[in-house]
Symmetry: C2
């Protein structure tokens, strides 16, 4: 499956949430990561994210697509992160 993850989390938790997401996905824009992932790893990602956020304050959206062919991508302006580079 292919995931697009967006998050809006409190300042104190941003670094941790980014660290968790970058274990599984590619950073493409501030607060946005994408990538192919197995079901097993997806379950682990969800669990780690749930432990990292404050559910009353933070918001995480996980868009789940069958694969990358299920969407086209149009970028405007400065493409901050390409899908292949993980840094």
């Amino acid at each position: 499956m292919y995931l697009i993850v967006t998050y809006d989390v409190g300042e104190k938790r941003v670094a941790r949430v980014l660290k968790v997401c970058r274990k599984y996905l590619n950073w493409v824009q501030n607060s946005v990561l994408e990538g192919e992932i197995t079901i097993a790893k997806f379950e682990k990602l969800k669990l780690e994210l749930e432990r990292s956020i404050d559910k009353s304050e933070d918001s995480v959206r996980i868009y789940i697509l069958k694969n990358k062919s299920f969407f086209d991508l149009k970028t405007l302006g400065n493409e901050k992160g390409t899908v292949d580079i993980i840094y």
Copy 2:
């Protein structure tokens, strides 16, 4: 078609970019909007966004899906904006 738009733009341009996007899409999370859109309106949205951003600094990602059935959505924590409410 169904769009998921994420953006990372300079402080001075955020309000304008949000205003442009909200004419066509629903706000669902900070810097993330979604919604059904016609091809004609999509062309207008792109044009207005291109005029609103600083291409050297700002980044906009437009995920284009055939329709809403092409993805599932899992949210964690506080679901800041539901797709129907525009405010």
